[in-house]
């Protein structure tokens, strides 16, 4: 008897050769960020993908599957997908509260098109909480902040950094070639051209930010508008709004030295910043969100930063699990 088709999106595609699927699964396991693959792994994986069109097809399919997780709010995903296994068919009452969901408008689909798939394939990557520094082939030095991924494209015409997520501090080197190639950084929001310089680029959720320490950069938003950002200035822009330059925040690059600096910052903003450096979730109870905080903190031990908060502010830290912490009123 023929088996029934499973009407899932994957089932509507041409099935993969089971041997290819098994091999691909091994690579996906090895290359998952959780496996902390190194550069040799990346090269080996690229070679495997390139060796057969079926390999690449399997890889791309799996990336589409990974994307679904990337856009998933982690807590909701855990609660729904990690629900206890059903022992038997339960005649549960139909969900009464679908009304909660049905206020949905199809407009939301577009918002989910920005998928961090490229971050998976990036040549350079740091995990949450990790910071490191790399020297590019042209001599430029790049410091990577927590949760950062980028690729570099260098050819005869250009040096182009593709920043997929996170934050970089770049010290460009003068190009040794006879015809100096421009040094540029692309984010989802636009293109930044360095003019002999030291600068930071950060990829935010709906914007990019440039902070210039030496020299200058030219920022071109995706919609074509362009502006020069000079030393001691910073600029936050989106693909269709270039915004205005502001004075550089004094401690903008402290993360390079592993320091998080706060100057009369709200606790909510501080927690959001600290959360970038911690695995799991860090939340701030609205009741204490507007407390103010100042000081310098070591990023290497975020648990210690949380303990310091509890010691200096009227708050306490509630650890629900190792990876879910909330700052609550003391």
């Amino acid at each position: 008897m023929p088996g029934a088709a499973r009407v899932t999106p994957a089932a509507q595609e041409e099935p993969l050769d089971p041997r290819v699927a098994r091999e691909a699964a091994q690579w996906l396991m090895r290359m998952h960020p959780a496996a902390e693959p190194d550069d040799a792994d990346h090269r080996a994986c690229l070679a495997w993908r390139a060796s057969d069109a079926q390999h690449e097809l399997a890889w791309q399919r799996a990336q589409r599957f990974n994307e679904k997780f990337a856009v998933m709010p982690a807590e909701l995903g855990k609660a729904a997908l990690g629900r206890p296994a059903q022992r038997q068919r339960q005649r549960r009452q139909a969900v009464k509260t679908l009304a909660l969901l049905l206020t949905a408008a199809p407009a939301g689909i577009l918002a989910y098109q920005h998928l961090p798939v490229a971050a998976w394939r990036a040549q350079y990557r740091t995990a949450t909480g990790e910071r490191r520094s790399v020297q590019l082939a042209d001599g430029s030095r790049v410091h990577m902040n927590t949760g950062t991924a980028f690729d570099i494209v260098a050819d005869d015409a250009q040096r182009l950094v593709l920043l997929h997520e996170g934050e970089l501090m770049i010290q460009t080197a003068p190009d040794a070639r006879a015809m100096a190639r421009p040094f540029r950084v692309r984010t989802t929001d636009g293109l930044i051209r360095a003019i002999g310089t030291r600068f930071c680029v950060r990829c935010g959720p709906a914007w990019s930010e440039v902070a210039v320490f030496d020299g200058a950069v030219e920022v071109a938003a995706r919609d074509g508008a362009a502006r020069i950002v000079a030393a001691s200035e910073q600029l936050r822009f989106s693909s269709d709004d270039l915004g205005d330059t502001e004075t550089l925040e004094g401690h903008r690059a402290d993360w390079v030295d592993g320091i998080l600096h706060a100057d009369n910052q709200t606790l909510a903003a501080f927690a959001a910043e600290l959360a970038r450096h911690r695995r799991g979730w860090l939340r701030c109870d609205p009741a204490v969100a507007n407390l103010r905080i100042s000081g310098s903190f070591q990023l290497d031990d975020t648990d210690r930063v949380l303990r310091a908060l509890a010691a200096t502010l009227p708050v306490s830290i509630r650890f629900h699990t190792r990876y879910l912490a909330t700052i609550v009123p003391a």
Binding site: R6, A10, A25, A34, A79, R89, I109, A111
Partner: protein, 171 residues
């Protein structure tokens, strides 16, 4: 879908057995409304399975046994989806208001969850837990091994198994 021709074996299957299937589902579900939907789903699956293979469909020896096999899968998919929706709405209700996704995203997230859930359906519970920890908690394999007190090799084996199921759901 080719259900217009009167000689089409699927059409014949439908007109002969739809009433019976409907009754079978209603008895299982205790609800006529859902039974109609699921009978529909069952035939859609059958049409998809036999696409371009009319001879195979014409040679079905025991159509009702076949229908119940497919309908049983549709039914278990229905229960799976129901429990997923329940867990999802519970989680939404327990979240602080400020942290919940915008209303226009809630249904999209549910659909995404459903796609993932269907693919992970047959995965052993431990493998599922490990896979979710890597995909959603951002834990490394070593941390997962510590957190769930299992060997690092098991973590890697479960991860590969999960990916294999997603890439080849029929296997």
């Amino acid at each position: 879908m080719r259900v217009s021709s009167s000689t089409d074996p699927i059409t014949a299957l439908y007109s002969e057995h739809n009433g019976w299937l409907h009754g079978w589902l209603r008895k299982k579900l205790g609800c006529a409304h859902n039974a109609a939907d699921l009978a529909q789903d069952t035939f859609i699956r059958i049409v998809t399975a036999f696409k371009g293979r009319d001879d195979a469909a014409a040679q079905l020896r025991e159509p009702r046994a076949y229908l119940t096999t497919v309908a049983t899968r549709v039914l278990s998919n229905h229960y799976r989806r129901q429990s997923l929706e329940q867990a999802y709405t519970d989680a939404l209700r327990q979240m602080p208001e400020a942290a919940t996704p915008a209303p226009e995203h809630r249904l999209i997230i549910l659909e995404t969850l459903n796609e993932i859930d269907a693919l992970l359906d047959a995965l052993p519970h431990k493998a599922r837990t490990v896979f979710l920890a890597a995909q959603l908690d951002g834990l490394t394999y070593n941390e997962i091994a510590l957190e769930y007190a299992i060997g690092a090799r098991s973590v890697r084996r479960y991860m590969a198994l999960a990916y294999e199921r997603c890439l080849a759901p029929h296997a």
